[in-house]
């Protein structure tokens, strides 16, 4: 399964990337699985994704929960709670 993963605001800064194409192992089926796998990829990831309470997610530009299932080709974004307006 290939995914396009986007990071915004301080997640982007800590991970050091705005966007990347990843191919996680087959057992990664949900957003929560993906978070766990990403955390294992380095200190920046581990730090950025340490507290799920501070991280929000969207799949294909729609808000999603940690339990949401992933599919090949999905665009998955991680970001902090919104502070616009």
């Amino acid at each position: 399964m290939k995914l396009q993963v986007l990071y915004f605001a301080w997640l982007r800064e800590r991970i050091g990337l705005a966007e990347e194409r990843v191919e996680p192992p087959q057992e990664v089926a949900s957003v929560a699985d993906l978070v766990g796998w990403l955390r294992s990829r380095g200190a920046g990831y581990a730090e950025a994704l340490a507290d799920p309470g501070r991280v929000r997610c969207a799949i294909n530009q729609e808000f999603a929960t940690l339990g949401a299932a992933l599919a090949h080709g999905d665009e998955v974004a991680f970001f902090p709670p919104i502070t616009g307006g």
Binding site: F8, A9, A58, Q61, I82, T83, G85
Partner: protein, 150 residues
Amino acid sequence: MAFIRVGPEDFDPAAEVVALQAEAGDAGAIATFLGIVRRGQDKPIEAMTLEHYPGMTERAIARMVAEAESRWPLSGCRVIHRTGRIPVGGRIVLVLTASRHRQAALEATSFLIDWLKVGAPFWKKEHPEAGEGRWVEARPADDAAAGRWH
């Protein structure tokens, strides 16, 4: 019907009112909300940077506007939200609604700005006069304000 623009360009509130009036036809009431970068008191800032999620932002705003249009008899609506670095006193966001009824225009404007604060993917970073930039934390009060409209 609604006009939505997200991007770094500044906007002219007066020109937007004129455009809205032209689109809205025979509207008797125009309500607007303009958000401006505040300097603040405790740790004064000199600017703010607005980051957003291109594509998702526009979709989220379009959905909010459609919801507002379903709740109130609006004859026109414009939402403009800037991105990038904006100095203190600079304009961030403008919401305009037109209606035959003043309460519809005022309520729809309130609704849209409340939802923009929690439902469109924007993040603010403050740049203090001295020291590092810092990301603004989300405020529970904003969730509560948006929740009023359920």
